[in-house]
């Protein structure tokens, strides 16, 4: 019984809290620009509105067009359930769960790209091509980051890997993972979630033809992914396991807030990169993670 309640609580936490993050980012951006900006809860209003709306389908779309967003959403949620939440631990922990998490995110990518290619739109093909290509570099960076945590802690279970700090390589890892976060969540400087010029976008352009409840699932899934990456980043860098649970919870929340505000600041202060520079930046993220790995390896063998 307790486990059912616990899982329900976790689910509710992820579902309810996730859409807050884009609201905070928008507030930060508005504040930097000196505007009033949309309410923090704007995404909740949008989701509720979309959930009530009807859909419009392309003549070319197969049933997979509706299945894609659902699969992606479930995959992201499943990945989120594997992530330990500081002192609250995780609902399910087993050896190698970190790899399942990475591959669940890949499943979400497959489903999103699949749905994007359903409508035969050249723009969406462009977005899907960019998404799956840049993900190659992002995935190399993530797996290297995981490897460095694993070398440092001698474990491949998320709960054990994220408990101690990542040691001397923490700053490198933070830089690498933050860059990957920006890329995977389609934020500036990789992508611009605000623009409506489709030629310049990755994620937004993949979901051009979605509407109604499937679009709500896409937006909500994207916000969950952002929350997932912010928690992962915080836990990878801060030694939450060695702290008092209440302090640890506070630090986790603060960490997520710092990451979110950081995303907002990056978005306000930087311009989007030209697409040919994107691989360079992602390679830099990979190299940062690689150096973190070397530091961890040096520390572990010394």
């Amino acid at each position: 019984m307790m486990t059912v309640i616990e899982i329900a609580l976790r689910l509710a936490g992820w579902l309810v809290l996730a859409p807050l993050l884009p609201g905070i980012i928008n507030q930060v951006k508005a504040w930097v620009a000196g505007r009033r900006g949309p309410p923090v809860l704007q995404l909740y209003y949008d989701l509720a509105r979309l959930w009530r709306k009807r859909i419009v389908l392309s003549t070319l779309a197969s049933p997979g067009f509706l299945a894609g967003p659902a699969v992606a959403w479930v995959a992201i949620l499943a990945a989120a359930m594997l992530l330990p939440l500081g002192p609250a631990g995780t609902a399910l922990s087993f050896k190698g769960d970190v790899l399942l998490l990475i591959y669940l995110l890949a499943l979400a990518r497959f489903a999103t790209a699949w749905a994007a290619l359903e409508t035969g739109s050249a723009f969406e093909g462009m977005g899907a091509a960019r998404e799956v290509s840049y993900a190659v570099l992002a995935e190399a960076a993530i797996i290297t980051a995981v490897l460095s945590l694993s070398v440092h802690t001698g474990s491949i279970t998320l709960a054990e890997m994220l408990e101690p700090a990542s040691g001397a390589g923490a700053a490198l890892l933070a830089g690498g993972l933050f860059t990957v976060l920006l890329a995977e969540n389609c934020r500036v400087p990789f992508d611009d979630p605000n623009t409506h010029l489709e030629l310049t976008m990755i994620h937004e352009v993949m979901v051009l033809d979605h509407s109604g409840p499937p679009f709500a699932a896409i937006l909500h899934g994207a916000s969950m992914k952002l929350l997932l990456f912010s928690i992962l980043l915080t836990e990878a860098v801060v030694p939450l396991g060695s702290l008092n649970p209440i302090v640890a919870t506070g630090i986790l929340l603060a960490g997520v807030l710092v990451v979110t505000v950081g995303v907002g600041l990056v978005e306000s202060l930087l311009a989007r990169l030209a697409f040919r520079r994107v691989p360079l930046l992602l390679t830099t993220a990979f190299l940062l993670c690689l150096f973190a790995l070397l530091v961890a390896w040096k520390g572990a063998t010394a």
């Binding site: 859909i55 699969v71 479930v74 399910l92 050896k95 190698g96 890949a106 290619l117 035969g120 070398v151």
Partner: protein, 648 residues
């Protein structure tokens, strides 16, 4: 029991070879009987783990026939039975007598003969018989590849296969005769106590590597797989190249290992995986794409095998065991999803008559079953949960991470292998999103894709079985674990005593949970979204009023970004006519990705050799007086040596 089953299967296959020409139904029944018997024998062997031996009373080529089935051969025999049986059913719809009156009977005969020769390869415990069966198997696959021999491209592919295969066989001749000379017998078995035999491992790796398709020995593989009829491609990709792996795995478990064996195999596997999938992503021909993806999967299996070998050479078994288990399971998984994908590709080829993805599109409407089954295979091959590809890759990862977390010296090669494996996974996802979407989604790019039909039951049935097997191997891997565990124990006799820790106990139920949640999510969203009649309209192309299907992203443009990063090895040939003037009449861009090793390295090297030979040939012109002059000059040279006393 295994004796009876194997005997029945061998007789049924021999009968199929004899009867296949005239009686398709009896042939099919015999092949299915053989497949069932072999599957039963393999399952029985994997359950008990007790090897089965059989010695003949008669001699073949001066040697007593000795057949042995242990758990390692059983793993491969199961693959052989599965793909062999399914392919036989599939060929009845795909390569029937009505459309191929001349080649369909030949296809049946060679099919049975190939299954039989592969079975004998897997059972032979005598080096000489192994070689004979290996050669027969190479010949049978040559005749199967060249069923459509009027096509020059097919003949070229077959010839290349035959040449490459014999280059490999040459190594194997050296290998087996050296082994026999050193041990004094043709009988095969563990020879770990002869440390001087260690260098033979490299000859075996090269000889079997040609058949397995290791980079850069894979040159024959793409064209052979692409030009063979699709049921043959499935057999080649699912089973034939696995026989190369069988050799590497088998003799890696028997020979004394050179110290570098493990990490060389792992490094070769990682390079094969990464470059294989890079080539796959670049292809526009979907069967070539699948062929290169086979190269990639062989790479992943070899990374696991390398982990197992490292485990053996370092005497540490826990992670070596896991990596090896992952390799063996991936071997099954690859056979299952790759045959499914080749069957799907065959159905598309059958319906449209083209292998070029840029001419297809939107086939899901006419071929919904093929589309969904192909998509299942695509998810499996991209190693995504909850299907089977993920389970085995996960085991390989666990093995590699085990080497890393124990801070073992093997970590130095395991860490790069993990990173390469992750990158390979992301590229495989890109390649298979591309393949399934370009063929089945969007609008039809040419008229070829417009008038198509769904395949018949003979073709859909085997694909359905393949998809169900993908699901089963993914959702209940626990069922398959004991067999894999037995095989890993049988591979290295030192390991058999250890209890098998089962890492799949948690992953299996989690996979089921994920699958159930995905289905639930799709159902809920669909119910919510489709409440009444749904308004349908043309795709909103940012307001462009007259979009055409030719404006869709093509396979080349989809892969363009990632293939650009691999331009150094892919070396694409581009021909471009830019639009000129104010009212450009026409423009074109043609891009071709050659098989780099073959066309840029081997081709020039072969031409150079030929040119040198042609030059040398001028010395031989048939004029006697010159020949006498050569002899005189030679003698004078020798005399000069003798007189001056220079010692060579």
């Amino acid at each position: 029991m295994p004796g009876w089953l194997t005997g029945t299967a061998a007789i049924a296959l021999a009968a199929g070879t004899l009867l296949g020409l005239r009686t398709p139904r009896i042939w099919l029944a015999a092949t299915l009987l053989a497949a069932t018997a072999l599957l039963a024998a393999a399952i029985g062997e994997l359950r008990t783990g007790v090897p089965w031996d059989w010695h003949s009373r008669f001699l073949v080529a001066g040697q007593q026939v000795h057949w042995r089935m242990d758990a390692i051969s059983a793993v491969f025999i199961a693959v052989l039975a599965f793909v062999g049986g399914l392919g036989a059913v599939y060929s009845r719809g795909y390569w029937d007598d009505r459309h191929h009156p001349r080649s369909a009977p030949r296809s049946r005969v060679w099919w049975s003969a190939m299954l039989l020769s592969m079975l004998v390869v897997l059972l032979s415990a005598n080096g000489l018989h192994f070689l004979i069966a290996w050669e027969l198997f190479a010949l049978c696959s040559y005749f199967l590849i060249t069923l459509e021999r009027r096509d020059t491209e097919v003949r070229a592919a077959g010839w290349l296969y035959l040449a490459a295969s014999h280059a490999g066989t040459l190594c194997l001749f050296a290998f087996f005769s050296a082994l026999a000379a050193r041990t004094g017998t043709w009988e095969l078995g563990p020879v770990r106590d002869h440390p001087e035999l260690a260098p033979l491992f490299w000859i075996a790796l090269a000889g079997f590597g040609v058949k397995a398709g290791l980079f850069p020995l894979h040159i024959w593989l793409p064209s052979a797989h692409a030009n063979a009829p699709s049921h043959v491609s499935a057999l080649m990709s699912g089973v034939a190249i696995k026989l190369g792996l069988y050799g590497i795995i088998r003799f890696g478990g028997w020979l004394p290992l050179p110290p570098a064996a493990g990490w060389v195999v792992m490094a070769v596997g990682a390079v094969t995986g990464l470059l294989g999938i890079a080539f796959a992503l670049a292809q526009d021909d979907f069967k070539r794409l699948l062929a290169y993806s086979s190269v990639e999967n062989i790479g992943i299996i070899l990374v696991g095998v390398g982990g197992g070998l490292l485990g053996v050479t370092h005497g540490d078994t826990a992670w070596g065991r896991l990596a090896m288990a992952g390799a063996l399971l991936h071997l099954w998984n690859h056979a299952v999803f790759k045959s499914l994908l080749f069957f799907g590709a065959g159905s598309v080829l059958h319906a449209t008559g083209t292998r070029e993805m840029s001419r297809l599109g939107g086939l899901w409407r006419a071929m919904p079953w093929t589309a969904i089954l192909f998509a299942t295979g695509a998810v499996a091959v991209a190693a995504l949960p909850p299907l089977n590809g993920f389970v085995s890759e996960w085991l390989v990862y666990l093995g590699l991470f085990g080497a890393v977390t124990s801070h073992h010296s093997a970590a130095v090669v395991a860490m790069p292998a993990i990173i390469v494996l992750g990158t390979t996974g992301a590229l495989a996802l890109a390649a298979f999103v591309k393949a399934s979407a370009m063929i089945f989604l969007g609008g039809p790019r040419t008229a070829l894709a417009r008038s198509v039909h769904e395949s018949g039951r003979w073709m859909l049935g085997p694909m359905l079985v393949g998809a169900v097997a993908c699901l089963a191997l993914g959702l209940v891997p626990l069922v398959f674990w004991p067999g894999i565990s037995t095989a890993v124990g049988a591979w290295n006799s030192g390991w058999a005593a250890e209890p098998a820790a089962n890492p799949l106990r948690v992953l299996g139920p989690v996979q089921v949970g994920i699958a159930a949640t995905v289905l639930l999510g799709v159902a809920v969203l669909r119910r919510r979204a489709v409440t009444g009649p749904v308004p349908v309209g043309p795709t909103w192309d940012c307001g462009y009023a007259a979009p055409t299907a030719r404006m869709q992203y093509t396979s080349g443009s989809f892969a363009g970004i990632a293939t650009g990063w691999f331009g150094w090895i892919l070396a694409p040939e581009r021909r471009m006519r830019r639009p000129r003037g104010f009212f450009p009449a026409e423009a074109s861009r043609i891009e071709r990705f050659p098989e780099t090793v073959l066309e840029r390295v081997l081709g020039p090297a072969a031409r150079l050799t030929l040119r040198f030979a042609a030059t040398a040939r001028r010395l031989q012109h048939g004029r006697l007086q010159f020949y006498i002059a050569y002899v005189v000059v030679g003698l004078l040279g020798l005399a000069a040596l003798v007189v001056t006393g220079v010692k060579p």
